[in-house]
């Protein structure tokens, strides 16, 4: 069934982001906060993150143009960007932010400029993956209750937490929250 295939594709896309280290446990925390009353919560948070990130990255770009570099200001700006990145579970982005801050503390201008390119690269990569993931999820849309229940009942496996999440999230049922809590 095509819908089943799409569900599997979405689940695989999601799993890959975790397996490849783009996302960490915090993203799952956000998913656990999503429910029937707020079914797009994760996407809303991530969209807010893109908006704030555009501002932080632009400010960092400008600050890196100044001579001499104000390392304290750079560190402060990156601290804020790192904070939001951490809040959405952006694992690789967070790591690059840490490298940047280390170079700030060492007052190493070349290091800062180099790692900032890495920060931007990881941010762009993650954003593309998340945008594709949410777009796929939206295309599948809310599933009819009867079909969804059968998907949930037949495919729940308790061997790994990720499997449990994958199947339930794509059924788009309020049931998702109760079942997710059962672990």
């Amino acid at each position: 069934m095509e819908r089943n295939q799409m569900h599997r594709q979405i689940a695989n896309t999601r799993k890959l982001m975790f397996d490849q280290g783009y996302l960490d446990e915090q993203f799952i925390q956000l998913e656990e906060l999503q429910d029937g009353s707020n079914p797009n919560f994760v996407e809303e948070v991530v969209t807010l993150y893109y908006r704030d990130s555009a501002r932080f990255l632009s400010n960092l770009d400008q600050a890196l143009e100044k001579r001499p570099l104000d390392f304290s200001k750079l560190d402060n700006l990156m601290h804020q960007f790192k904070g939001s990145s951490t809040s959405i579970g952006a694992k690789k982005v967070k790591t690059e932010c840490t490298h940047f801050r280390n170079y700030c503390n060492a007052r190493n201008a070349e290091g800062c400029k180099r790692t900032f390119q890495n920060v931007k690269k990881e941010y762009t990569t993650l954003r593309k993956k998340l945008e594709a993931y949410f777009q796929m999820s939206r295309q599948v849309g809310p599933v009819e209750t009867a079909y969804a229940s059968s998907v949930v009942v037949c495919t729940i496996r308790y061997d790994t937490i990720h499997s449990l999440h994958l199947n339930i999230i794509h059924s788009n049922l309020p049931l998702r929250r109760c079942a997710a809590r059962s672990h």
Partner: protein, 181 residues
């Protein structure tokens, strides 16, 4: 109160959350609502003081209708830091009994110690989790306002012996140690 009454009859605790990050405000608000708290979120320490009515000497605080049971504040904020906000609240005769929790991405024992010495109820490492809030809620519900007052006084005066312990310990361990004071 031996048992915690978490039935729907129990009044909801009202939390005032303070954070300058848009993303973190959205997340903490959701975390708190899901944990069955009533939530007010503001973006700065000065807004928090405005909300409490502390900033204006002429106006008396609208204490009754917006009784705040808990304040959760980010540590690093432009303008007034969470630490400065904590001090202002603890120095206020009206609001000093409201527990204040600090949230921070920095796992610094020095910072944690400073905050707890200044009277913070707890210090949570960001990103804050549902389990952190559950623990917090249980501890707030368990302590009546008198008990909380005692704990705060003890925190200020008492130099815990584990301050001299130089072995690394997680903030959670520090918090558990403090809670036992």
């Amino acid at each position: 109160m031996d048992t915690i009454n978490l039935s729907s009859d129990a009044p909801e605790l009202h939390v005032l959350a303070v954070d300058d990050s848009n993303v973190d405000r959205k997340v903490i608000e959701k975390l708190l609502r899901i944990s069955s708290f009533k939530v007010t979120v503001v973006e700065s320490g000065s807004r928090a003081l405005q909300y409490l009515g502390l900033d204006q000497e002429k106006k008396s605080p609208r204490f009754d209708d917006l009784k705040v049971n808990l304040i959760m504040t980010d540590y690093s904020m432009p303008g007034m830091t969470g630490f400065e906000l904590l001090k202002k609240i603890k120095n206020s005769s009206t609001f000093r009994d409201i527990p204040v929790v600090i949230m921070s991405s920095e796992n610094s024992l020095i910072r944690i110690d400073r905050c707890l010495e200044e009277g913070a109820e707890d210090y949570l490492l960001k990103p804050v989790k549902l389990s952190d809030l559950k623990r917090l809620k249980d501890s707030i519900l368990k302590s009546g306002s008198e008990h909380t007052g005692q704990i705060l006084t003890r925190n200020r005066k008492h130099k815990p012996s584990d301050c001299l312990d130089l072995s690394p310990s997680s903030p959670q361990q520090e918090q558990t140690k403090r809670a036992r004071l």
